[in-house]
Subunit: 249 residues, 2 copies
């Protein structure tokens, strides 16, 4: 993670923001953006750095602008479960609650566009469009969490890996306005350990399942963190989703 591309100059104007049309601020008009520009501030964390500890009082909320962050929870004896993976435009923090419920850790170098929680709460009260957008995004997060519950509770290790890769592939395709298809290449962003924590597996099982699917020609790896899909249909089938094959999304 040290041969990073040069950091884009920040703060930037909202109108030029890469997440302008997807983040919580997407429904804002020019005037509202100007107000946001007055109260926002950028903050960058290096890969591995902790953004917030569960239980800690956090007075900031905000959106991921660049990079990837992980939300996870740890049991008394150290078992860890990731409960969310935040990509650009995803929102971190819970307006209306004092402390955060989960550890937040940077998976890659990650930059947030942040607001003081109090200030943000006042803002959404004045600006129903933002509140509506936050509700929409929270409902989407809830659907995603529930879909992940199905994976955690009922899928096999192989299906879990296939599902993760399908989701990552689709995200990558969507991001570049391509159709998802064979030949698609995408980065995994996270380590095997983080995948294990996300999928409710051990790192050895993650590794074995990836090796197995690779040996069967479903995809190849370039280095350890870049995947090239060779047979997307097969990968989707291996994901074992319900009858619609995940097309409902």
């Amino acid at each position: 993670m040290s041969s990073m591309t040069a950091p884009r100059p920040l703060p930037i104007r909202c109108a030029d923001c890469p997440i302008r049309y997807r983040a919580v601020c997407s429904p804002c008009d020019e005037g509202e953006l100007q107000e946001l520009e007055r109260i926002k501030s950028y903050r960058t964390y290096e890969a591995g750095e902790t953004i917030a500890w569960a239980g800690e009082k956090l007075s900031l909320v905000g959106s991921v602008v660049e990079g990837v962050a992980m939300l996870s929870s740890t049991l008394a004896d150290g078992r860890r479960q990731m409960v969310g993976l935040l990509f650009p435009s995803d929102f971190l923090g819970r307006p209306g609650r004092e402390s955060v419920s989960y550890d937040a850790v940077a998976a890659t170098r990650v930059t947030f566009c942040m607001f003081q929680k109090r200030e943000f709460e006042r803002l959404i009260t004045r600006t129903p469009r933002i509140e509506r957008r936050l509700l929409e995004m929270t409902l989407d997060d809830l659907d995603a969490a529930r879909e992940w519950m199905v994976l955690l509770g009922r899928k096999t290790a192989r299906e879990k890996i296939a599902t993760l890769f399908v989701i990552m592939a689709r995200r990558e395709a969507t991001m570049h306005d391509q159709p998802a298809g064979d030949g698609l290449r995408f980065p995994l962003y996270i380590s095997r350990e983080a995948m294990a924590d996300y999928l409710g597996l051990t790192i050895e099982t993650v590794s074995r399942q990836i090796s197995s699917l690779r040996r069967e020609g479903v995809f190849t790896l370039e280095g350890n963190r870049t995947v090239q899909i060779h047979d997307l249909a097969r990968l989707i089938e291996e994901a074992g989703d319900d009858a619609d094959g995940g097309l409902a999304n």
Copy 2:
């Protein structure tokens, strides 16, 4: 489920509603309640009855008034995972989306206070307090879903059962404004099969773990669906939660 108590007369006035102070309508004033009374309608489902199928277009949303409902998802080969358990005051349905994402089934006889989705969407647009309340409730649901992800991904069968019982016990205590403590009796509401679907286990494993905890004197069963707690501290310990012992809730 046939020796049901006589159904309470419905529709009732909002002011007398048992979920008046907890449901999505809790922040409403008298005038707003009158408006709700004009557009609400009650609907009752028998235990086992399907309320909505995943993928189906559902033009209703609403709150559970009495009884318990289950939200679950089914994979192609029939594996099922429950993704939510709805108790009185919980909200069902997603404003802003055409079709429902999960199967909704009545666990007991259950009565909803329902609204046409379109009408409800117009309502929350006019009534920011309701929208705010819905956002709060959705954030709570998201936290609950994520906590459940930890259970599904990382807990042992024994811990899963203990966690479920602790949660049920606490809910029961809260409902009656009692402290949760030894001697508390509460109903499980759901079958072993539903517990298995909720916990990501098989019905046999659920049964074995319940028997094991019962044999060790942590609780006793009266019939198959009523639990009496004998050693709550032990049960909480068996739940294996993170250092705070779940006290953060």
